[in-house]
């Protein structure tokens, strides 16, 4: 009887935990972005505004990134409107919200595309949301601009002719890491990865690249997602005779791994600590100086020395008081891709804008030109950076870019599973 009660209560706990994650909110607010000027030149346009619906997560752990996505869009829109709009079309942001759940996001996207006339969607955060929306886009007659969802399926089995991605995908980032391996000093590597598809695919790609580069992998181990105590994994790493560590642990797991590794003095024994999605600007303050010298894939080089990037950094900093990092930067590029396509199409009609994507070429924040592949992937370079002391950076840290790998290397061909 007692056990039955406890079992019932345990089940109630688990079910309720799942339900608690499922909030709902799709209240929208229209924001005809003021920017520097509200004057519309309307030189070539028919006065139709370019309406962009944003559906960022506004609750939960991803809310902070959702807010930064909106900031990226806002800077792009403000710049465009200050110059009289995009091809004469004033740009309007229609802000909705999600809890990060696909069902909520789809509801919000339908409302934006049908009731509010926003046929261009952005600000959606996670890959499951992007994948779910991809299936609806053609029916909605809408185009989606993904700047954060990195899942490879989004340009594979889940691709859509109406979906475009400005952020580099997971496979592209792993390929960039692999391409940089030769230049890193360690010869004998240990791999600590999350027991999840990302961890396994990254470990496999790294192992293959290490073999190709004449280096060896002496230990590969996986920790379940949401591991809080890495003690046993770290003790095994300490016993393995490696002079390099490749770590695929992210979010709270990554923070716990780095903190506990430092307690064990684990990182002192390595010539190279290379992370995949482990350390990034938003975590610099949390992780502190102990990550100085770590290498990691880097989504965006804030110091890229070209006028296009410098103008973006200056405007972003003026509006938000801090330097941009990869989330607002990739989002800004999503906006630029849309604006370039609208200009090329000479229209805000989604079908014409979609057609204009073929052969589209525009400046990238890296200083090179970016094109959009037939799978909707923006062909942008991937970086590997080293964490260094940087005055004014978050936590006094910043990335120094050590390798830049072009998209022709990281994404050489379209996945045959993408039939768009």
């Amino acid at each position: 009887m007692l056990r039955a009660k406890v079992s019932a209560a345990l089940i109630a706990l688990l079910v309720s935990g799942g339900l608690a994650a499922c909030g709902s909110s799709d209240n929208s607010s229209s924001d005809a972005s003021s920017g520097g000027s509200s004057t519309t030149s309307a030189a070539k346009s028919d006065g139709t505004p370019l309406k962009i619906g944003l559906i960022p997560p506004t609750s939960g752990a991803l809310a902070v990134f959702g807010a930064d996505e909106v900031k990226g869009w806002q800077v792009a829109v403000d710049q465009a409107n200050a110059q009289g709009g995009v091809d004469g079309h004033k740009v309007e942001l229609v802000k909705s919200s999600s809890d990060g759940q696909p069902a909520t996001t789809i509801r919000a996207a339908r409302k934006l595309a049908t009731a509010q006339g926003a046929k261009y969607i952005g600000g959606i955060m996670t890959s499951p949301e992007q994948a779910a929306l991809s299936k609806q886009l053609v029916a909605l007659g809408a185009l989606n601009f993904n700047s954060t969802g990195k899942d490879d399926g989004l340009i594979g089995a889940d691709c859509s002719p109406n979906a475009f991605r400005s952020v580099t995908g997971s496979a592209m980032d792993v390929n960039a890491i692999a391409a940089s391996l030769e230049k890193l000093p360690a010869q004998t590597w240990a791999i600590q990865a999350v027991d999840y598809s990302t961890g396994h695919s990254a470990a496999a790609a790294f192992t293959a690249a290490a073999k190709k580069a004449g280096k060896t992998v002496v230990l590969t181990q996986y920790a379940p997602l949401n591991t809080s105590d890495f003690g046993s994994y770290i003790s095994k790493l300490k016993s393995a005779k490696a002079d390099g560590l490749f770590a695929v642990e992210y979010g709270a797991d990554g923070v716990a791994f780095v903190n506990q590794g430092a307690q064990f003095k684990l990182f002192d024994q390595y010539k190279t600590v290379l992370g995949f999605n482990m350390v990034s600007e938003p975590l610099f303050k949390t992780l502190g100086k102990k990550i100085t010298g770590f290498y990691n894939n880097v989504g965006y080089d804030v110091d890229a020395d070209n006028p296009f990037n410098q103008a973006f950094v200056a405007d972003y900093k003026k509006a938000n008081g801090v330097d941009p990092y990869y989330v607002p930067a990739d989002t800004y590029m999503a906006a630029q891709i849309l604006f370039a396509a609208v200009k090329k199409a000479g229209s805000v009609d989604p079908d014409k804008v979609k057609a204009a994507m073929a052969g589209l070429s525009l400046p990238d924040l890296s200083g090179q030109n970016v094109t959009v592949g037939p799978d909707g992937q923006a062909m942008r370079p991937s970086y590997v950076g080293q964490v260094v002391a940087k005055a004014g950076g978050p936590g006094g840290l910043g990335f120094k870019i050590v390798t830049t790998t072009p998209a022709s290397v990281t994404h050489p061909s379209v996945d045959p599973a993408c039939k768009s």
Binding site: R3, A8, L10, A20, S232, V255, T286
Partner: protein
């Protein structure tokens, strides 16, 4: 399995021991499975984060946070457990689950969704050589604190008048009341102590794991398993089960990494098949 891994098991078990002792005490007396215990532990960790963030020493936080959680425990006893003592245990359990959700949300509203680091004090931030193995001193501190807490708690329960009353009330509340024991007062002491132990575990966990909003929920399931394996309501059983689970979990991580996540559940099934009343049975 080398010495470092044994110490890893003891450190994890030690933390679970502190946390599960409080949960077992409350269950033993009130008969309520307190689902807010994980949230109390998380609140303790956030108190420690806030205290150190405000410039207080970690050692002071180790006292302040449990005291703060003892006050929260008193509020739970006076506001909920005492008023709901005649309701069914499932209903009270669900109320505690609701309390956990409220505490979670309040924490996010105050401290945000981010993960926050708490540094171990300088004196215990390095490593100590244990029979030729360099091991983090902070983890050794957790083991020492947990063992000291366990010894003090057992001595207090066995030798003090209040301890006698707690043991009596845990066996039979009504008879204890008839014999003159003020069960409400005993219950207040126990729930305060349970809260303080959750606060102590949370404070110790802050530099161990880092502080984040999901930390309470993720450890709660493990602690519930510890309490059931130990023998529901038995403090000594919970302590033994915590150390056992810590060691078995680490053995799983080392020898069966792909199935390590299932270890607590496997242990639960094995122990309940072997001894349906848990390791300690009905003893307090």
């Amino acid at each position: 399995m080398n010495l470092a891994q044994v110490l890893n098991g003891l450190a994890l078990g030690a933390l679970l021991m502190i946390l599960s002792s409080g949960l077992a005490l409350i269950y033993g007396l009130r008969g309520v499975m307190n689902f807010s215990h994980g949230a109390l532990y998380m609140l303790g960790a956030y108190f420690a984060y806030e205290a150190t963030n405000q410039g207080l020493s970690f050692w002071l936080a180790l006292i302040v946070a449990p005291l703060g959680l003892a006050i929260v425990g008193a509020a739970l006893e006076l506001g909920f457990f005492r008023r709901l003592q005649r309701r069914s245990h499932i209903e009270v359990g669900l109320v505690t689950f609701g309390i956990a959700l409220v505490i979670n949300r309040v924490i996010v509203l105050i401290w945000g969704d981010d993960t926050h680091p708490v540094s171990a004090p300088k004196a215990v931030d390095g490593t100590t050589n244990v029979f030729g193995t360099d091991y983090p001193t902070y983890r050794l501190l957790i083991i020492v604190v947990a063992l000291a807490m366990a010894a003090a708690l057992v001595l207090w329960l066995r030798n003090s008048r209040v301890g006698l009353h707690i043991r009596a009330a845990s066996h039979d509340t009504e008879t204890s009341g008839i014999l003159g024991i003020n069960v409400d007062r005993v219950s207040l002491v126990v729930v305060c102590l349970g809260g303080a132990l959750a606060g102590l575990a949370g404070t110790l966990a802050a530099p161990y794991f880092a502080v984040s909003p999901g930390m309470g929920q993720s450890i709660l399931i493990t602690v519930l398993i510890v309490v059931v394996v130990g023998g529901i309501g038995s403090v000594g059983g919970a302590m033994a089960a915590a150390l056992l689970l810590g060691l078995v979990q680490i053995m799983g991580n080392v020898w069966l990494p792909s199935a390590a996540v299932l270890v607590p559940y496997a242990l639960l099934i094995v122990v309940l098949l072997w001894r349906p009343t848990g390791i300690a049975g009905k003893r307090v």
